[in-house]
């Protein structure tokens, strides 16, 4: 688990910042945010705290090949729960990704409070994110293995069907004439070789792809680690 923290001071009052918070998207810098929906909203009758649940859709930040490998949608979804406490002048927003959370979980907490030095005109923004990657070699390798086995199975079927065709031709020709046996024998060996070559080629194809996926995963893992 990694912790990310940042701090920023906005030159606007807490009221302005929290009002703007509801209208933060769309903005020119956050083009990855596709949609924002409010799922629940209520005011606590005792504390007057305004509580809101939102669903935020973002464009997937990961490459499509990895998405295909680990299974995923075009968009990733984030759930956010926020509380505005007018009495304490705090806005706390907690969000977690729902998509791909079995691989990478980001729990973010953002707090907006009036800046202690200039509470009427400045707002302190504190951000904390816990990032946990569940990406293990074994899980990635299992996926690749499953995929490769499937691919190999498909290709092996093609190979077998080819061989059956050859056998079929051979037996037919055997029935037609004994004289042709020798010639047929030569040609069938050639055809078997061709089928073998084809199978080897496909196995090689799967191996090359697996290696390239693994190296890309490794690079991405390095990126996440840094």
């Amino acid at each position: 688990m990694k912790l990310f923290e940042s701090l920023h001071i906005f030159d606007y009052s807490w009221e302005q910042v929290t009002a703007a918070n509801w209208q933060k998207y769309p903005n020119e810098l956050s083009t990855h945010v596709v949609s924002v929906d409010i799922l629940n909203r209520e005011i606590d009758p005792v504390t007057n705290v305004l509580r809101t649940e939102r669903l935020i859709a973002c464009k997937q930040p990961i490459p499509s090949w990895l998405r295909a490998l680990v299974g995923g949608d075009e968009f990733s979804y984030v759930r956010e729960i926020s509380e505005v406490d007018l009495a304490k002048k705090t806005l706390v927003m907690k969000s977690s990704n729902m998509t791909m959370s079995h691989l990478l979980l980001v729990n973010e907490t953002v707090t907006y409070t009036p800046d202690s030095e200039l509470p009427e005109g400045r707002t302190k923004f504190e951000q904390e994110a816990e990032i946990t990657a569940f990406l293990s070699w074994s899980s990635i390798c299992n996926r690749i293995e499953d995929w490769s086995v499937e691919r190999f199975g498909q290709n092996a079927t093609i190979g077998k069907k080819g061989f059956e065709l050859v056998l079929n031709t051979l037996s037919q020709k055997l029935e037609q004439s004994e004289v042709l046996v020798k010639d047929v024998g030569t040609s069938i060996l050639k055809e078997i070789d061709e089928v073998n070559d084809l199978t080897h080629e496909l196995v090689n194809d799967v191996t090359v792809k697996t290696n390239s996926v693994l190296s890309q995963v490794q690079r991405l893992k390095g990126f996440w680690r840094n």
Partner: protein, 85 residues
């Protein structure tokens, strides 16, 4: 306000969302922040919008993930998710 608000994940709900957002933002700035009202005054627009969203969610592939997240960390437990590790 005049700001452009973000769209809904379901295009058919965007109009209802924009109407609700406009009402909410006005209420938030003019009433809530001033301590003038703790009543959410946009109930009708909210009902309109949330009905649309819930209908769209029911058939959306996000639904199982959302159900799981809401079960693990309910909106109505009165406390923001401190337990999540």
């Amino acid at each position: 306000m005049g700001n452009i608000m973000s769209v809904s994940f379901a295009p058919e709900c965007t109009d209802a969302k924009l109407e609700y957002d406009e009402c909410f933002n006005k209420w938030y700035t003019d009433k809530f922040l001033q301590g003038k009202s703790i009543q959410n005054e946009c109930t009708e627009l909210w009902e309109n919008y949330i009905t649309c969203v819930n209908t769209a969610l029911a058939t959306h592939n996000i639904k199982p993930m959302l159900d799981k997240a809401q079960k693990e960390n309910p909106f109505k437990d009165g406390k923001i998710d401190e337990s999540k590790k």
